[in-house]
């Protein structure tokens, strides 16, 4: 029972299984493509034992892409877990309540109006995402923020931001629209080490913070009054949690575009796997990484030579999942 109350053994098992799956997926996705490399050679190349051309393909071309996918997936998984827990609502995910739409509007504004380069577009998306989050928080604030209000305000803001993005696209040239569309779908194509580093650094800082906040977060789930009575500084803790989740989502979006579905589904899938209530931050991160690397692998292989942006795959999967979730919640009377 002691162990059951700290980290349940099932969660440890699920965590290990997810880690193993992630490693296998990474090796397989690094090994496949126009130039096939057997898994053994991939591992050898990673250990610095492969031949030069293999090492070039692995370390310069494919590994950064796979790693970006894993890190972005993990960041989205944690961001989603925190948000769904703070709002006490499986729909309270950054890709539903407007942050990704804010990031998209910011990036498209940069592409169409300001005409900045890749870095400026990433910065525009961060500003847009954080701005949307701040707006939703302020509008939902009435002596405190409740989950339901945050989700509803977020969906409203999200719709307005999509309109802004669409308007900007009608004002754009064909080239700009094309560039914007590629960014808006969310893609891991052509990701190099310069994309891996910022996400890795962001996760290195924010993951320990998220872990520290996990206990107050679990207590917040009991409701504001109960949490306050238990000694949680409710508004301060919630603001800190939202800030961490927004930062994680912003970094992920700046690196790979607004990839939907991962933040929404990863925490829910992780919870069903571990069968533990509450935000399992670690397992949600691993599930997010597996989902995104897996989706990217599929997006590169599904249609032969035609390489889809990963956002198309997560978008299709996400739409189906969202429909199921809404129907499910509706039936429970919680929708």
């Amino acid at each position: 029972m002691t162990a059951a109350l700290r980290i349940p053994p099932r969660s440890v098992g699920v965590g290990l299984a997810l880690s193993a799956t992630l490693l296998a997926l990474l090796v397989v996705s690094v090994g496949t493509g126009e130039f096939e490399i057997p898994p053994g050679d991939v591992v050898a190349a990673l250990a610095g034992q492969g031949d030069r051309s293999t090492e070039f393909v692995v370390e310069t071309l494919r590994l950064p892409r796979a790693l970006t996918g894993a890190l972005v997936g993990a960041a989205l998984g944690i961001g989603g877990a925190i948000f769904q827990s703070v709002t006490r609502n499986p729909l309270g995910s950054p890709d539903i309540v407007g942050f990704m739409q804010g990031a998209a509007a910011g990036a498209v504004l940069e592409i169409v109006v300001l005409g900045g380069g890749a870095f400026a577009i990433a910065a525009g998306s961060v500003v847009g995402g954080v701005g949307a989050a701040a707006l939703v928080y302020v509008l939902a604030y009435r002596g405190g923020v409740t989950g339901y209000r945050l989700v509803l305000v977020g969906i409203g803001i999200s719709a307005m931001l999509i309109a802004v993005t669409d308007y900007l696209l009608t004002r754009s040239t064909l080239d700009q629209a094309l560039a914007a569309q590629v960014w808006l779908t969310g893609s891991l194509n052509g990701r190099g080490w310069e994309h891996v580093r910022p996400v890795a650094a962001g996760l290195a800082v924010l993951l320990p913070v998220a872990a520290l906040l996990a206990r107050p977060l679990r207590t917040l789930e009991l409701g504001d009054d109960a949490a306050r009575a238990l000694g949680v500084p409710v508004e301060r803790a919630r603001l800190a949690l939202i800030a961490v989740a927004v930062a994680l989502t912003a970094i992920a979006t700046a690196s790979a575009g607004p990839i939907v579905f991962v933040a929404l589904a990863a925490p829910q899938i992780a919870r069903r796997l571990t069968r533990v209530a509450g935000p399992g931050v670690g397992c949600a991160a691993l599930t997010g990484a597996v989902l995104l690397v897996g989706a990217d692998f599929l997006s590169q292989r599904l249609f032969g030579d035609v390489q889809l942006p990963v956002g198309v795959v997560t978008g299709v999967a996400g739409g189906a999942y969202l429909a199921w979730l809404l129907a499910h919640e509706w039936r429970r009377g919680a929708g």
Binding site: M1, E221, R228, A229, G231
Partner: protein, 267 residues
Amino acid sequence: MSGGLEGRELTLAYDGRVVAERLDALIPEGSFTAVVGANACGKSTLLRALARLMRPRAGTVLLDGRAIHSIPTKEVARRVGLLPQGVVAPDAITVEDLVARGRYPHQGILRQWSRGDELAVRAAMRATRVGDLAERPVEELSGGQRQRAWLAMVLAQETPFVLLDEPTTFLDIAHQVEVLDLCAELHEREGRTLVAVLHDLNHACRYATHLIAMADGGIVAEGDPTEVVDAALVERVFGLRCKVIEDPESGTPLVVPAMRGRAAAGR
């Protein structure tokens, strides 16, 4: 300074709507205090103020002689526990997990889970008889079982003061009695000071050792229920004509509402 929980000259307001003015309330240490009154008389508000969930516009709540808002919130949480009204458990949470979350104020970054936590959780589940339900999801339990599980969460907090905001609302009569019997047992056996906002005056009379009756944001009577409850008080507090007789089971006051038109005629 003696230990205790006390409100002094409290003015309590929500968004400018004043609920109570210059209210003095003393919770006798070691008592089972019931706070009763009509709907919207300010009884839950008083409880929230005593639990530092709302900040009084004027006046102070004293915990062990210190202003409660000047004490770090986690330290208060080791002295005063609260079961709020209408709590909803997180999805899929088990009874044991819920009860364990009551240990929050005893834990810190470096002290995550200890033998003491373990023992407190077990003792709380034993006292509320939810040990057999430990692995069950809270949402699958009956109303009475669910309230017992939440009570166990508050007990695991191991606070000398336990505040309960309408712990019997939405329960059928058997479950109401079950929860109140349990409260009385905890009061007697564990020596905790209990403060419960109760709807039913007869329950308050039967179980409480101290009664605080409120009307329009003020306290109109306080003391041993046997001494303070009579027909005049009930009429003043609830606007209800009644007879007060002796409860044949417990000897405490029992309020029997008058029938329409009969009370005047029968005088």
